[in-house]
């Protein structure tokens, strides 16, 4: 037994050394998994910053403002700067080169307004143009204000109280804490970290199993007097180490990432410090263990690295798609989420980001699921090893 444990350490050390020497693969994983997250964060912060700037700019783009001096008067009283829309605003909106919705005023606006003929004002936007779309509600409210003012004035002229028009007052009260609101934007962060775990494990898992078969080194390896389980345990340990290493790098890469956030609001809302990073890593450990074992179990059945890549696509897809249940918020949080690997980790990491406490059950269920997966994966590889060597 003691000798077998020694053998586990020997195999682990060799596989780690082997994996860490595969610089090109490591760099690819590092760039795609570790740098990707902060870069996306940066892009989001840029978008949010530009939205904020737009909201502060108080500009409104109008086509045909000359037709509506009353409206112009109102807009200017609201301290808005009225800009004339470019001629080809429709195509510009479609191409996303114009970042504001355009208010289109009909030619006889003023005359119709005076006659009480209810002129139609269009707010033109493109739902694929995110920045323009974000300002649409603001412009709608602005124009609504104009209508209300006109109505109030007409009523006041007839001696009717303004309250007749507004028998009820509506006020917003947002229950979400700052952190909860932030997760709408930072919600994809756990997803990126999880992809880092997955891609960290993928190459090492395939290389230690299918790669070993392809090189023809599995057969000689099994001609050593080492127990099968010790060989598999060593290999698995190495894959988990690589995967966790990438996960740690990925989790901590968001720390410097947030210093460069360009949006003050986002920076205030984004609660991700060393504590959160640490919790993330703890939550990801069992997932790394389970994923490594499952990927190895899939790959040992493939003769070549390429074949293994094809068959592991199923695992990769499942891990990539499951957390999307959360991202798209399909039906809110359900108890079964904790039982699905990847989805459970995503749920829990999101809770950490929201600043909510985790109870023991929430941690133990995914831990148990991952432990079971890891054990059955390792067992399956050990069982398959001899057959794989000679085929």
């Amino acid at each position: 037994m003691k000798r077998s444990i020694g053998a586990v350490a020997i195999v682990l050390r060799k596989e780690l050394r082997d994996a860490l020497r595969d610089r090109r693969t490591l760099m690819t994983v590092l760039v795609s998994a570790v740098l990707m997250g902060p870069l996306v964060l940066l892009a989001i912060s840029g978008l949010v910053a530009s939205l904020e700037a737009r909201a502060e700019q108080r500009e409104v783009v109008v086509a045909g403002i000359a037709n509506a001096p009353t409206l112009r008067n109102y807009l200017e009283r609201q301290t808005y700067v009225v800009k004339e829309a470019p001629r080809d605003f429709e195509s510009q909106l479609r191409r996303s080169t114009l970042h504001d919705p355009v208010v289109v005023v009909p030619e006889h606006f003023e005359a119709e307004l005076v006659r009480g003929d209810v002129p139609v004002v269009e707010i033109v936007s493109d739902s694929a143009n995110q920045r323009a779309e974000a300002s649409t509600a603001r412009i709608e409210r602005l124009l609504g204000g104009f209508s209300r003012e006109r109505a109030l004035l007409s009523l006041a002229l007839r001696g009717v109280s303004a309250q007749v028009l507004e028998p009820m007052e509506v006020e917003d009260r947002d229950l979400a804490s700052t952190q909860t609101r932030a997760t709408r934007i930072t919600g994809m962060l756990p997803y990126f970290v999880m992809m880092a775990v997955l891609y960290g494990a993928l190459n090492a898992a395939l290389d230690t199993t299918a790669g070993e078969r392809e090189r023809g080194s599995l057969e000689p390896l099994l001609m050593n007097p080492t127990e099968r389980w010790a060989l598999v345990a060593g290999k698995w340990g190495a894959v988990v180490c690589v995967s966790v290493l990438i996960a740690v790098l990925s989790c901590f890469s968001f720390l410097p990432g947030q210093w460069v956030l360009r949006s003050d609001t986002l920076q205030a809302m984004f609660q991700y410090g060393p504590r959160e990073a640490g919790l993330f890593i703890l939550l990801l450990l069992p997932l790394a263990a389970a994923l490594s074992a499952v990927l190895m179990a899939v790959a040992i059945r493939s003769r070549t690295f390429k074949e293994a890549q094809a068959s592991s696509t199923v695992v990769v897809l499942a891990v990539s798609l499951l957390p999307l249940v959360n991202v798209f918020d399909l039906g809110g949080e359900a108890p079964w989420h904790l039982w699905a690997p990847a989805l459970a980790q995503n749920t829990l990491m999101t809770r950490v980001l929201k600043g909510e406490a985790l109870d023991a059950w929430q941690v133990l269920v995914p831990l148990g699921v991952c432990a079971a997966l890891a054990a059955s994966g390792v067992w399956s590889v050990a069982r398959q090893l001899h057959q794989a060597a000679v085929k």
């Binding site: 060799k14 000689p220 001609m223 060597a389």
Partner: protein, 279 residues
């Protein structure tokens, strides 16, 4: 010392994917199995027996597909035999595979190295798996490298090795724990003349008391190898041992003067026997 008695192994024919027709069983099932496909099973090894004493080189000679590799894989406890016994230094292979592997160095048909590790690391890894201390394994790697004239290779990564360099490294790897029994599966495959000669010299040395009087079993389909190297020859054809003896004995037995002719005669006779139904 390696003793193999009446070894047999058959494999299930892999099911045809996407096919719905059942494979028809050949024959009526009463004929003695011969090597080849019989209904749903491939008989790779039918009846192989041989003794390989210490201090001698025993050649396992047979055409392609004779069952040499399967026999050696069973000897290395990689696959379990259907019937027969194998003993290495008196230890049963099936009952105590790990004890056997500790006393045996195998250069198998597959001799893949780890391309990102150096030759030294490749060799030391196996030494450690054989239970050697790291220092001892390192020292042994240096010693073997000197013996096989590959010292300059030691600290190069195996990824860029030539066929011959790979073979030498794999051989060092198999011998790192100084095993009393050495099994080589077609070791000269893909080697040029010089490398083959070097390997032959090494094996001759390993046979001497200086080299440890090893028991060496090596499989090949090349006559010259056997003629030049082997103290004893086991001719295997169609999964059976068809003749054993020294080169001279086999020549006498077949009544030929040329060893190649002798081999063809012995193997061809086996083929005729195999084709004839058992009365």
């Amino acid at each position: 010392m390696i003793e193999v008695r009446s070894l047999a192994k058959s494999f299930a024919v892999p099911a045809r994917r996407g096919g719905w027709r059942r494979v028809r069983r050949a024959g009526d099932g009463t004929a003695a199995p011969t090597a080849g496909v019989d209904g749903s099973r491939v008989h790779a090894v039918v009846d192989v027996s041989f003794d390989a004493p210490d201090g001698r080189i025993t050649g396992l000679l047979g055409p392609n597909g004779a069952g040499k590799t399967t026999t050696l894989r069973m000897l290395a406890a990689l696959i379990a035999p259907d019937a027969g016994t194998m003993r290495v230094d008196g230890i049963d292979v099936v009952a105590r595979p790990r004890d056997v592997l500790a006393r045996m160095g195998v250069l198998s048909d597959a001799r893949g190295l780890y391309p990102r590790l150096t030759a030294r690391e490749n060799i030391v890894y196996y030494g450690e798996l054989q239970g050697m201390a790291r220092d001892a394994a390192e020292a042994r790697a240096v010693e073997l490298a000197r013996r096989f004239e590959m010292t300059p290779l030691l600290d190069r990564r195996a990824g860029g090795f030539s066929q011959g360099e790979r073979m030498k490294t794999a051989l060092c790897r198999a011998l790192v724990h100084d095993p009393p029994n050495i099994v080589l599966d077609e070791p000269t495959n893909g080697l040029d003349v010089l490398a083959t000669r070097a390997l032959r010299d090494s094996l001759r040395w390993l046979r001497t008391p200086d080299g440890g009087a090893k028991c060496i079993v090596f499989s090949t389909h090349i006559m010259q190898e056997v003629e030049r190297l082997c103290d004893g020859v086991v001719v295997v054809a169609h999964g059976r041992t068809v003749a054993t003896g020294t080169v001279d004995e086999l020549l006498a037995k077949s009544g030929q003067r040329d060893f190649e002719e002798a081999f063809v005669e012995l193997a061809f006779a086996a083929e005729r026997v195999a084709a004839e139904p058992v009365a």
